[in-house]
């Protein structure tokens, strides 16, 4: 026994020495080779970086036909020309990857604010049990909080889930079969049932023939988004850990909830899936939006169907217009931390009134209109195709009577109003929330003698508006925005 104890002591001493050798001469090279995400943390984040953006493919995807390949993080950075922003983007990554990236940001860095992409899809079984998980988890082994030699040992002996594609698929199927919704008003028991019903009922084309492509896509939306995020969801645990880490390191934290193709989901699947969307979105907003030091930028339903690149699949890959919308929204949230550095790069800052940045104003029965932007026909430049509108709104409860109005007076003196219901874009009551719209500058816009833009509150409850921000720019893509037209007599007091 004594001999055995001596040998154990010798083994331990040997391991200590080997760990030193490995940590000194081999570890960094191995990290760069087998855990390239750490390269991002080391190489992108230099001493002058004050904001970092962590993202996945939503940040760096662009349409085949697009000439502008700039990322969401690039567009956001345009708003803060005096603040250096670092971009840590790796396709298919999720909160666990971000957590490890953040852990490896050097203590010497000047990082003040961290923007973490929050992708609703990453909470679902299709992503949790994705075939890419084996490779992603393998990357993280060397980044564990153990001595370097122990990490390398864990990597050598495959201390990560090695599964074949079929085995991952089986886990997804198991989840679809066994994870029950238990939600009142939702007529489906689990994904398997719902998918079966949708597949059986299906979609039919104009000739009455079953449209298998659309049916499959509808089923795919169910399989992708039909789940209920709970406290024990692995991604929730990762986001919780990110909150904790950012607190420890004194970083401002912004979770950037990415836009999903709500239009298509609604069209293909309908209210039942919308119910789950709302439940899951509210879960995330409630869990993280109320935490000190954490801001959640809710882009969830901001991007319209036409701005999604993948029309036959579920992704968060946006055309430039979509990327711009999210960047604009994110920039508004970042402005709270960097008010003096904020510049609107696409706006014309001039005295002609093309650009409007209002102060806070309360709209109520006595004073239902916000500050109004007035344009004349000759002030609409030919290369402008789009208007971006963003403002912050605070309302007491759910309202459907606040609109953003675009009022046009044509040459005959006929007045028409396009209105955009604000409530569709506002998720939180009682706190400041963002609303953004992207409007097309069509022919009626160009021929109008006078165009006015303002927020109008019809209701009895007061609504507060601040930082109304209107900017014009060329179209990156011809985005369609659903608008409802009202005749002038529908309004009580247009001015």
């Amino acid at each position: 026994m004594k001999k055995l104890l001596i040998r154990i002591g010798m083994v331990l001493a040997m391991l200590v020495v080997l760990n030193w050798v490995y940590a000194t001469w081999f570890f960094e090279k191995d990290l760069r080779k087998h855990s390239d995400i750490v390269e991002l943390s080391w190489d992108v984040i230099d001493d002058s970086c004050r904001i970092i953006y962590l993202g996945e493919s939503s940040n760096n995807h662009y349409g085949d036909e697009e000439t502008n390949h700039r990322k969401i993080s690039d567009f956001t950075a345009d708003y803060f020309p005096t603040v250096k922003m670092g971009d840590l983007t790796k396709s298919a990554s999720h909160a666990q990857t971000y957590l490890y990236m953040l852990k490896h940001i050097p203590a010497s860095s000047s990082v003040e604010t961290v923007v973490v992409t929050m992708n609703m899809r990453s909470f679902g079984p299709l992503w949790i049990y994705s075939k890419l998980e084996t490779a992603l988890r393998k990357q993280l082994v060397l980044l564990e909080d153990h001595p370097p030699l122990v990490n390398r040992f864990l990597l050598a002996f495959k201390a990560y889930p090695i599964k074949t594609a079929d085995e991952w698929d089986e886990l997804v199927l198991e989840h679809w079969r066994n994870d029950t919704f238990n939600i009142p008003n939702l007529p489906w028991y689990n994904v398997a049932d719902w998918n079966y019903a949708k597949y059986t009922y299906g979609w039919y084309d104009a000739n009455g023939e079953k449209d298998w492509d659309v049916t499959s896509l509808a089923c795919h939306y169910i399989k992708t988004y039909a789940y209920v995020i709970k406290d024990d969801n692995p991604r929730v645990k990762d986001f919780d850990a990110i909150v904790e880490l950012c607190r420890q390191r004194g970083w401002n934290l912004i979770f950037n909830l990415m836009a999903e193709n709500v239009d298509k989901a609604n069209e293909l699947v309908g209210n039942d899936l919308m119910l789950l969307f709302r439940l899951n979105r509210d879960f995330l907003l409630k869990r993280y939006g109320n935490l000190d030091g954490v801001t959640v930028v809710n882009n969830f339903s901001l991007v319209r169907d036409v701005n999604f690149i993948d029309q036959d699949w579920t992704t968060e890959h946006y055309y430039e217009e979509g990327r711009r919308i999210i960047a604009d929204h994110l920039a508004l949230a970042l402005r709270d931390f960097y008010p003096d550095d904020y510049r609107n790069p696409d706006s014309l800052k001039m005295d002609t009134g093309h650009y409007l940045l209002s102060g806070t104003k309360t709209l109520d029965r006595q004073n239902p209109y916000s500050m109004t932007l007035v344009l004349t026909a000759d002030s609409i430049r030919p290369d402008w195709d789009m208007v971006n509108v963003a403002f912050e709104i605070k309302q007491a409860d759910s309202l459907d009577k606040t609109i953003f109005a675009v009022e046009k007076l044509d040459v005959q003196g006929e007045k028409s109003v396009d209105s955009y219901v604000v409530n569709e874009h506002v998720q939180k009551n009682g706190t400041w929330d963002f609303a953004t719209f992207t409007l097309p500058i069509d022919s009626t816009f160009r021929t109008a003698q006078k165009t006015k833009m303002y927020v109008h509150n019809f209701s009895d409850s007061p609504v507060q508006i601040r930082n109304l921000d209107v900017s014009f720019r060329p179209a990156y893509l011809k985005a369609r925005v659903k608008a409802q037209s009202y005749k002038s007599e529908d309004f009580h007091n247009g001015e």
Partner: protein, 472 residues
């Protein structure tokens, strides 16, 4: 459960600890339970196939012994046992191949059939069915007493260190040892650890690094030139050797920790001077199985040359098919058999005088070793090719594309690992790593351990290569 996994590194010490803590009468039960856990870690339901084989062969053993004085009955039980074991093997290993070929045959005759099955091969099936058959044959021949204790018999088939890729043990060796009461012995622990460490080195450092190159080249033949493909053939020869030798060495070490001595499976096969010697040194447990249960019953070498050649071809073709249900494996076995026959025919005709000069003898031996290695390496291409098309493409690229394609660069580390292995193979030609270490001073031993531990942890490939022989 695979050996080079965290799970096994947790599992093994627990089993060894329990083994020594438990009284002898309960050890079989613990080892059997551990073996079940080990096997079920892969695909749990396939343990039922093992159970069927075990029950049938266990019963057959008892019945053959009971009816030892009634040869016809005894033979009937023997045949039932062999047929049932082979039926399991055919269904799970060869049915896909047979039905696919039947479909193709029918298609060539203008008939459309859909007989093709898609049965997944249970891991280690060829190994444990052969081990089970060796028991039945030995009992039938009267060389082995039938095992009365079902648990011990089940453990003989399922003993986890050698369950999935051998060595294919004989009852005379393993079953006997399972009954013996093993006492804790530091020497066994030390030797077992050495073997495991050395096995990890050759599998994880040498074989898996080589595998990265081999997979790259054989997967993208159109991108590389002949020199690269020829180099890759050499790499594959070492990859498959190190992969299988590594597994066998870890198996030997794991068993040794509990005091069990499994048979050696390899003895520096690439230092063989001819193909016959190669098969005395390569996968010894399988080649001796075929020798004892197929070759000798067919008449062995005590027959005329023609008959002997036939026996050899039968044995090697069977050996090829044993490895895998594909025409390429059959061709591989046939090629080895043919080479065996050609070499013997040449030896019979050439004068067998030993050269007088020591250096001339060494030079001739070296040339023979190189010749055997080159031929074996060429044959391994049949083993590695996924089908005949792939096989043709490999040989075409290897011999016709000397001026086109890329030359693959090999990292210096790879040459160091391979060089170290070749050196160890030469040094350990007539011994085993654990025994070789015994004769070295403590400081040298510990230096070797430190280097191996460091290489296994810090220099091992991080690619996930399952053991090649798992597929058999």
């Amino acid at each position: 459960m695979v050996f080079n996994s965290i799970e096994f590194l947790v599992f093994l010490p627990i089993v060894v600890l329990l083994y020594y803590l438990l009284p002898h009468k309960w050890r079989w039960l613990m080892l059997l339970a551990a073996s079940c856990v080990f096997y079920m870690w892969f695909v749990p339901k396939y343990i039922l196939i093992l159970l069927v084989t075990i029950v049938v062969d266990y019963a057959a053993g008892l019945l053959m012994e009971r009816y030892a004085d009634q040869p016809r009955k005894k033979k009937a039980f023997f045949i039932i046992s062999i047929v049932s074991t082979l039926t399991v093997l055919v269904i799970f290993k060869y049915l896909n191949f047979l039905t696919e070929n039947l479909d193709q045959l029918c298609a060539s005759l203008g008939m459309e059939t859909h007989l093709m099955t898609h049965i997944i091969l249970p891991i280690g099936l060829s190994f444990h069915t052969f081990q089970s058959m060796s028991y039945v044959i030995e009992v039938y021949r009267g060389h082995q007493k039938a095992e009365r204790h079902f648990g011990y018999y089940a453990l003989y088939v399922m003993f986890f260190p050698q369950l999935v890729t051998g060595p294919i043990e004989r009852p005379g060796n393993l079953l006997r040892q399972l009954h013996e009461e093993k006492r804790f012995d530091y020497d066994n622990i030390s030797k077992g650890m050495r073997l495991i460490l050395f096995g990890f080195f050759i599998k994880m450092v040498v074989a898996d690094h080589l595998g990265e190159y081999v997979d790259e080249v054989y997967g993208h033949l159109d991108e590389y030139n002949s020199w690269t493909v020829l180099g890759c053939m050499v790499f594959y020869s070492f990859q498959i050797y190190c992969d299988f030798f590594g597994y066998s060495t870890i198996a030997l070490g794991s068993a040794k920790l509990m005091g069990f001595d499994l048979m050696d499976n390899f003895r520096s096969p690439y230092l063989s001077k001819n193909i016959a010697e190669f098969w005395h040194r390569w996968h010894i447990s399988l080649s001796t199985w075929f020798r004892d249960y197929v070759y000798i019953p067919l008449g062995g070498s005590r027959v005329k040359f023609g008959r002997w050649a036939f026996n050899i071809l039968v044995v090697f073709v069977l050996s090829g098919i044993w490895h895998g249900a594909a025409w390429t494996f059959l061709l591989w076995g046939f090629a080895h058999g043919l080479l065996h026959i050609v070499e013997k025919a040449l030896r019979n005709r050439l004068p067998s005088k030993e050269p007088k000069s020591k250096w001339l003898k060494i030079s001739i031996d070296a040339l023979c070793v190189v010749k055997t290695f080159v031929l074996v390496s060429l044959f391994w291409v049949m083993f590695r090719a996924t089908d005949f098309e792939h096989l043709k493409a490999i040989f075409e690229t290897a011999f016709t594309n000397f001026h086109g394609g890329e030359q693959m660069s090999v990292k210096p580390g790879m040459w160091i690992y391979l060089g170290l292995f070749i050196l160890s193979d030469i040094v350990l030609r007539n011994t085993r790593f654990d025994l070789w270490c015994d004769g070295k001073p403590l400081a040298v031993r510990w230096l070797i351990y430190a280097v191996l531990v460091f290489m296994v942890i810090a220099c091992s490939s991080v690619a996930n290569f399952p053991f090649i022989y798992f597929q058999f």
